[in-house]
C-alpha cells in the first residue's frame, strides 16, 4: 500500500445481511448493516435484546454457527481483508490475535472443568500455532498468562492460574476473560455486554479497566450494550440498532443531547433522569417485530408515532444529517 492512498478504516462493515434458517422459515436477523471503525476508535452499539447486536459482534469473529446462520450479502472488511470470504484457517489467524472478544456472562463463557491456567495457555499457544509459529512451552505460556492477569489488576496471578472458574468472584472472572482477550495483543476489542452480569459496583470497575486498556494500548473498541449509560461512559460514538438495522449513528454526546430517530428518542425517554425526578421514564409502545416476518418498509413503523404510508412501503436508508451524524428515517 502506498502512502498516497486514502487510509482504510480498521473495520468497514458494508450492507451486511445475515439470515438464520429454521423450520419456521428464514429470520432476517441483520438487514443491511453498515459501520466503520478507525484504529483506536471507540464505538458503542445500543439496542434492545434481540435486535441483532450480539449476532453482529459474533460475525466479526465468525462465531455464529452456520447453519443456521447464512450470509445473504455484504462485506466485513478488517485490515483490508473481507472476513466473510476468508477460509477458516485464515480466520483462525485473526481470532484472539487481531480481533478479540469479551463476553457477557463470565460464568458460562469459562470452562467449568479446566483451570484458568489451562484455558489461558491453550489460547496463547493456539494463537501462535495459527500463524505457524512454534508454540511456546506450557511453562513460558503460563508465565505470559500470569503477566496478563496482573495487567488487568488481578492479585496473586499464580494462584489464580491454578484455580477453577467457580472459585472466583464474578468481577474476577470477567477480568480473567478480559485478560484472555488481551493475550494476542489485538487491534480490535469486541465487548458484548461485558458488564451486564455483574454487580453495579463491579460494573464500574470493569468499565474503567476496559477504558484504561483502550487508552493505553490504542485498541479500537466495539462495545455492545443495551445500557446507554455504559456506552456513554466508554464510547466516543454510538450506533442505535433496531430489529437488525442501524437507525442512527452519531457522536455519543450528540446522540444523548439530540437524538433524531424516533426510536433513539424513545430509548432516551425510557432512561430515568436522577436530576429531574419529575420526568417519568416512558417506555416505547409495542414490542420488537418477529424477524421471520419483519414489517415491510421501515422496520420500526408499527411502533412509531410518525409513521406514514411511505414508512410502510419504503425502507429508509442511512443519510448523513451532519458530518458524523447519520439517521435512517423518512421524517428527519
Amino acid at each position: 500500500m502506498t502512502l498516497n492512498q486514502p487510509r482504510e478504516p480498521l473495520l468497514d462493515i458494508s450492507d451486511y445481511r445475515l439470515a438464520f434458517d429454521s423450520f419456521d422459515g428464514t429470520a432476517q436477523v441483520l438487514d443491511g448493516v453498515s459501520l466503520r471503525l478507525e484504529p483506536g476508535e471507540t464505538l458503542g452499539i445500543v439496542g434492545e435484546t434481540g435486535c441483532g447486536k450480539s449476532v453482529l459482534a459474533r460475525s466479526l469473529l465468525r462465531l455464529n454457527p452456520a447453519p443456521p446462520a447464512r450470509v445473504v450479502s455484504g462485506s466485513i472488511r478488517f485490515e483490508g481483508a473481507d472476513l466473510l470470504t476468508l477460509s477458516e484457517r485464515e480466520m483462525r489467524r485473526l481470532r484472539g490475535r487481531r480481533i478479540a472478544m469479551v463476553f457477557q456472562d463470565p460464568v458460562s463463557y469459562l470452562n467449568p472443568l479446566l483451570t484458568i491456567g489451562t484455558q489461558m495457555t491453550d489460547a496463547l499457544r493456539g494463537q501462535h500455532a495459527a500463524v505457524g509459529q512454534a508454540q511456546p512451552s506450557r511453562f513460558v505460556a503460563r508465565a505470559e498468562a500470569a503477566a496478563l492477569l496482573a495487567s488487568v489488576g488481578l492479585a496473586e496471578p499464580e494462584r489464580l492460574l491454578a484455580s477453577h472458574p467457580h472459585q472466583l468472584s464474578g468481577g474476577m472472572r470477567q477480568r480473567v476473560l478480559i485478560a484472555m482477550a488481551l493475550a494476542g495483543n489485538p487491534a480490535l476489542l469486541v465487548a458484548d455486554e461485558p458488564t451486564t452480569a455483574l454487580d453495579v459496583t463491579v460494573q464500574a470497575q470493569v468499565l474503567a479497566l476496559i477504558a484504561g486498556l483502550v487508552r493505553d494500548r490504542g485498541l479500537a473498541l466495539l462495545l455492545i450494550s443495551h445500557d446507554l449509560g455504559v456506552i456513554a461512559a466508554s464510547c466516543a460514538r454510538v450506533a442505535v440498532m433496531y430489529a437488525g438495522t442501524i437507525v442512527e449513528e452519531a457522536a455519543t454526546a450528540t446522540l444523548l443531547r439530540q437524538p433524531r430517530h424516533p426510536y433513539a428518542q424513545g430509548l432516551l425517554a425510557a432512561v430515568p433522569d436522577l436530576d429531574r425526578p419529575e420526568h417519568r421514564p416512558r417506555g416505547i409502545a409495542g414490542s420488537i417485530p418477529n424477524l421471520l416476518r419483519p414489517p415491510p418498509g421501515c422496520r420500526f413503523h408499527p411502533r412509531c408515532g410518525l409513521a406514514t404510508e411511505r414508512c410502510r412501503v419504503e425502507k429508509p436508508l442511512l443519510r448523513e444529517l451532519a458530518p458524523g451524524h447519520n439517521v435512517a428515517c423518512h421524517h428527519v
Binding site: 484472539g96 456472562d105 479446566l114 477453577h164 472459585q167 494476542g184
Partner: protein
C-alpha cells in the same frame, strides 16, 4: 495447603458413607436371593442325594446340608458364612461355591474387561465424530449402528458371528476359552490374556485373544451403542456451549477444543452410563457365555439353575450385585476427580 487436606477429609467421609450404603444394599440383595431360592419349587436335598436315592438317604442329605433347620436359622448361617467369605456348598456337586466362583469369575471378568475396553475405545471416539459431523452422513450411519447395537439380541448376533467368522471363514474358533489341545496354565490372576502377558507367553496370548474376541464383541455391542449415544448427545451440547465459543474466539486450536475442552464436559454424563453398563454387562454374560460356551460365572449360574442348585446362583447374583455397587462407587469418585465443583461443594 489446607485445601487439599479439606479435599481428603471430605472425600474420605463421602467414601465411608457410600460404603455403608453399599453394605445396606448388599444385605438387601442377600435377603432377596435367599427368599427367591427358597420359594423355588425344587427340593435341594433330593438333588443332593441323587436320582436313585430313597427317602432315608434324602433325609440324610437334608441334615448334612442343614436344610432341616428352620429358614431363619438357615438364613443366619448363610449370612454368617458370607461374612467369612464362604458362599456355601453346591448341592449338585458338593463343591464349595466360593472356590467355584474363584475359578469362573476371572473368566467373566476378563470377558467384561475386554468388552468394556472395546465399548470405550470405539464408543467414545465414534460418539465424538458423530457429534462433530452432526446430521451429516457419518452421523446418520453411526446412529443407525447405535440403534441396532441396542436392539440386536446378543444370542442371535453371537450365532451370526460364529457362523461367519468360525464356520464360513474359519478365521476364529467357534467357542470355548482355549483349544482342547492346549493345557491351561497355572492361573496367576485367572485371566488368560493377563496371565500370558505376565508369563511372557505370546502364543498363549494370541490363542486366548482369538477365543475371546467374538464373545467380547457380542457383549460389548449394547454397551458400545449406549456409550456412543450418550457421548454423542453430550458432545453436541458441549460443542454448542458458550465456553467453547469463547475458547474458539480466543484462538484455542480446534482439536484441543474438541478433545479436551468439550470432551471433558461430555465425559461426566457418559461416566454414569459406563458405570451402569458395567453392572449390566456382568449379568448379561449369561447369554453370551451360553452361546460361546465360555466357562464363566454366567454359564455356571445357568447350568446350576437348570439343575435346581441354588447356592451357586445366589453366589453369582451376589457377585454381580457387588460389581454393580463397586462400579457406581468408582464412578462417583471419578466425578469428584473430574469436576472441581463437586470437590469444593
Amino acid at each position: 495447603m489446607n485445601r487439599s487436606f479439606r479435599f481428603d477429609s471430605v472425600m474420605l467421609w463421602y467414601l465411608a458413607r457410600r460404603l455403608a450404603l453399599a453394605g445396606v444394599m448388599l444385605f438387601g440383595l442377600v435377603c432377596l436371593t435367599f427368599v427367591i431360592a427358597n420359594v423355588a419349587p425344587s427340593d435341594p436335598a433330593a438333588l443332593a442325594a441323587g436320582p436313585d436315592a430313597g427317602r432315608s438317604q434324602i433325609e440324610q442329605a437334608r441334615r448334612e446340608y442343614g436344610l432341616d433347620k428352620p429358614l431363619p436359622e438357615q438364613f443366619l448361617r448363610y449370612v454368617g458364612d458370607l461374612a467369612q467369605g464362604e458362599f456355601g456348598r453346591s448341592v449338585a456337586t458338593g463343591r464349595s461355591v466360593g472356590r467355584d466362583l474363584g475359578r469362573y469369575f476371572p473368566a467373566t471378568l476378563e470377558l467384561c474387561l475386554v468388552a468394556m475396553t472395546i465399548g470405550l475405545a470405539v464408543g467414545i471416539p465414534l460418539g465424538m465424530l458423530s457429534a462433530l459431523f452432526k446430521d451429516r452422513w457419518l452421523d446418520q450411519l453411526t446412529r443407525i449402528f447405535a440403534v441396532s447395537g441396542i436392539a440386536l439380541p446378543p444370542f442371535w448376533f453371537g450365532l451370526l458371528l460364529q457362523l461367519g467368522f468360525a464356520t464360513w471363514l474359519g478365521w476364529l474358533p467357534t467357542s470355548g476359552r482355549l483349544g482342547v489341545a492346549t493345557e491351561p496354565p497355572e492361573p496367576i490372576t485367572g485371566m488368560l490374556l493377563l496371565d500370558s502377558v505376565l508369563r511372557g507367553d505370546a502364543a498363549l496370548f494370541w490363542q486366548s485373544a482369538s477365543y475371546i474376541i467374538l464373545p467380547a464383541l457380542v457383549l460389548s455391542l449394547p454397551c458400545l451403542a449406549s456409550i456412543l449415544r450418550v457421548n454423542r448427545s453430550e458432545m453436541v451440547e458441549c460443542l454448542r456451549a458458550d465456553y467453547i465459543t469463547a475458547a474458539r474466539a480466543h484462538g484455542t486450536v480446534p482439536w484441543r477444543l474438541v478433545a479436551v475442552h468439550a470432551l471433558k464436559n461430555a465425559t461426566l454424563p457418559t461416566l454414569a452410563i459406563i458405570g451402569l453398563r458395567w453392572g449390566w454387562m456382568m449379568s448379561s454374560t449369561v447369554l453370551v457365555e451360553t452361546v460361546f460356551d465360555w466357562p464363566g460365572t454366567g454359564l455356571y449360574a445357568v447350568s446350576s439353575a437348570i439343575a435346581g442348585d441354588f447356592k451357586p446362583v445366589m453366589g453369582v447374583t451376589l457377585i454381580v450385585g457387588l460389581n454393580f455397587m463397586l462400579a457406581n462407587l468408582v464412578v462417583d469418585l471419578l466425578y469428584g476427580v473430574l469436576d472441581p465443583r463437586l470437590r469444593d461443594a
